[in-house]
C-alpha cells in the first residue's frame, strides 16, 4: 500500500494541480475551458467529467499500450476516448439533464480536448497503469481548478450569485450597485483567463527566486 502512494506517485498527482497546470502552463484544452465558465455549476460538472475521462482513458491506454501498433495508435486512442465520452454524455443526460443542455456540444468536444491526447501520448504510452491513472486524475483536476476559478469570478460579478444562490444582498443593489453584464459575455472569459495565467506565473516566479 505504501508503494502505491510513494513520493514519486504523489508528485505525479500533485504537479499538474499547480506547477505543471494543464491550462496555465502546458496550454492544453483551452477550447472548452472558456465556453463553459459563465457560471459555476457547468464549470464544476465539466471539470469533473474531464477528470474522470482523462483518468480512465489514461488507465485503459496504459493497460493495452504494449499491444497497440505504433502506426495506428492515434486512431486507437481516439476510439477509447470517444467511447468514454459517449458514456459520460449519456450519464449526464440521465442524471443532470439541465446541465447537459447548458453544456450542449462541449461534452462531445471533450474528445478533441488536447489534454487527453497530450497526456495519452506523453504519459500513458510509457508508464504503468497506476501512475497513468494518477497522472490523468491530477491533470483533470488541475483543469477543473482553473475552470472553477474563472467560473466563480464570472458568476459573482456577472450575476451576483454563486452556484445559482444570490450572494450579493439586495441592499447593495438599492445603493446603486449593478451587475457587470460584460462578465457573462464570451470575450471576458479570454481576458480573465489571461489574468489567471498572469497571476499564476508571477506567483511561481517569486517562489522560484526565494
Amino acid at each position: 500500500m505504501s508503494k502505491l502512494f510513494s513520493k514519486e506517485n504523489r508528485a505525479v498527482f500533485s504537479a499538474p494541480l499547480n506547477l505543471d497546470n494543464p491550462i496555465a502552463v502546458q496550454v492544453l484544452g483551452i477550447c472548452s475551458a472558456l465556453a463553459v465558465t459563465s457560471q459555476m455549476q457547468p464549470a464544476i460538472v465539466m471539470g469533473l467529467s474531464v477528470a474522470v475521462i482523462t483518468a480512465f482513458s489514461n488507465l485503459i491506454i496504459s493497460l493495452i499500450r504494449k499491444t497497440i501498433p505504433n502506426r495506428i495508435r492515434i486512431i486507437v486512442q481516439l476510439v477509447v476516448v470517444a467511447a468514454l465520452v459517449t458514456i459520460v454524455s449519456m450519464v449526464l443526460k440521465a442524471f443532470a439533464y439541465d446541465v447537459s443542455v447548458q453544456l450542449s456540444v462541449y461534452v462531445g468536444l471533450i474528445i478533441t480536448n488536447c489534454i487527453l491526447m497530450g497526456r495519452l501520448e506523453a504519459f500513458a504510452m510509457m508508464n504503468g497503469p497506476w501512475e497513468s491513472f494518477l497522472d490523468g486524475l491530477g491533470n483533470g483536476l488541475g483543469y477543473a481548478l482553473v475552470l472553477v476559478v474563472v467560473g466563480t469570478v464570472r458568476e459573482l460579478l456577472g450575476n451576483g450569485s454563486l452556484l445559482g444562490f444570490q450572494v450579493i444582498p439586495q441592499s447593495f443593489y438599492d445603493m446603486g450597485y449593478m451587475n457587470n453584464g460584460m462578465m457573462t459575455m464570451p470575450a471576458m472569459a479570454l481576458i480573465l483567463l489571461g489574468c489567471v495565467i498572469w497571476v499564476h506565473r508571477a506567483y511561481n516566479e517569486k517562489k522560484e527566486k526565494k
Binding site: V27, G29, A82, T112, G194
Partner: protein, 208 residues
C-alpha cells in the same frame, strides 16, 4: 437561396468559431506567430471542414437517424463515427498535400495531422447535428439539406481563417512591444483575443 446566403454570412461573422465558441483554440494560439503559416493552416482547416461536415450530415440523416436506411436509432454512435470520419479525411488530405505541394507540407509540419483533433472540425459537426432539428422557416441557423451544410462548413472555415490571420498579423507587430514579463507570450495573447472577440460582438446584433 436567401437562407443559404444568410447561413454563410452568419457563420463567418456572428457564429464565428473562435470569437463566439472558442473552438480550435489550441492550434489557433500555437500557429499564429506568422501570417504565412497561419494562412496555410486556415486553408487546410477550411478544406477539411467543407469535406467532413457534409459527409457527417449525410451519415447523421441517412444512416444513424431512426428513419435512415438501417431503420433503428443509432445516434449514440455519432461521436465515434464523426471522429473516425474526421481522422480518415485528415489522413487523406495529408497524403494529397504531401504528393502535390511538398513545400506547404513542410511548412505545416505537425499541425497537419493535428487537424484531426482540432475542436473546430468536431465542433462544426456537432453544431450541425444540433441544427438539423431546427425549423428553416423561423431560424437562420437551421440546416435542412446537404447544401446548407456545405455553406455552413465553408463559412465557419473562412471565419476561422479570418481570425487566425488577423491574430497572426497583430502578434507579428506585438513582438516589438514591451510587455510585463509574467504576461509575455500566452497571457497577452489571451487578452488580445479577448479584445478582438469584443470587437466581433458588434456583429451579434446583425439580423440576416
Amino acid at each position: 437561396m436567401e437562407h443559404f446566403l444568410s447561413l454563410f454570412v452568419r457563420s463567418i461573422f456572428v457564429d464565428n468559431m473562435i470569437f463566439a465558441f472558442f473552438l480550435g483554440m489550441c492550434s489557433y494560439l500555437a500557429v499564429s506567430k506568422n501570417v504565412k503559416t497561419a494562412f496555410g493552416l486556415g486553408i487546410a482547416v477550411t478544406f477539411v471542414l467543407v469535406v467532413t461536415v457534409p459527409v457527417d450530415y449525410l451519415l447523421q440523416t441517412k444512416v444513424l437517424a431512426e428513419d435512415g436506411i438501417l431503420g433503428i436509432d443509432l445516434t449514440y454512435l455519432s461521436f465515434i463515427l464523426f471522429i473516425a470520419v474526421i481522422a480518415g479525411i485528415t489522413q487523406l488530405v495529408e497524403m494529397v498535400v504531401e504528393r502535390f505541394s511538398p513545400s506547404l507540407y513542410a511548412a505545416l509540419g505537425i499541425f497537419l495531422p493535428l487537424i484531426a483533433v482540432n475542436c473546430a472540425i468536431m465542433g462544426a459537426s456537432l453544431f450541425m447535428q444540433q441544427r438539423i432539428s431546427m425549423d428553416p422557416a423561423t431560424s437562420t441557423q437551421a440546416i435542412s439539406n446537404v447544401w446548407d451544410s456545405i455553406a455552413y462548413a465553408l463559412g465557419s472555415g473562412i471565419g476561422w481563417m479570418l481570425a487566425i490571420v488577423s491574430l497572426a498579423a497583430i502578434r507579428e507587430k506585438m513582438a516589438y512591444t514591451n510587455v510585463p514579463k509574467p504576461l509575455q507570450g500566452l497571457g497577452i495573447t489571451f487578452i488580445t483575443v479577448g479584445l478582438m472577440a469584443m470587437a466581433f460582438m458588434c456583429f451579434s446584433g446583425l439580423s440576416i
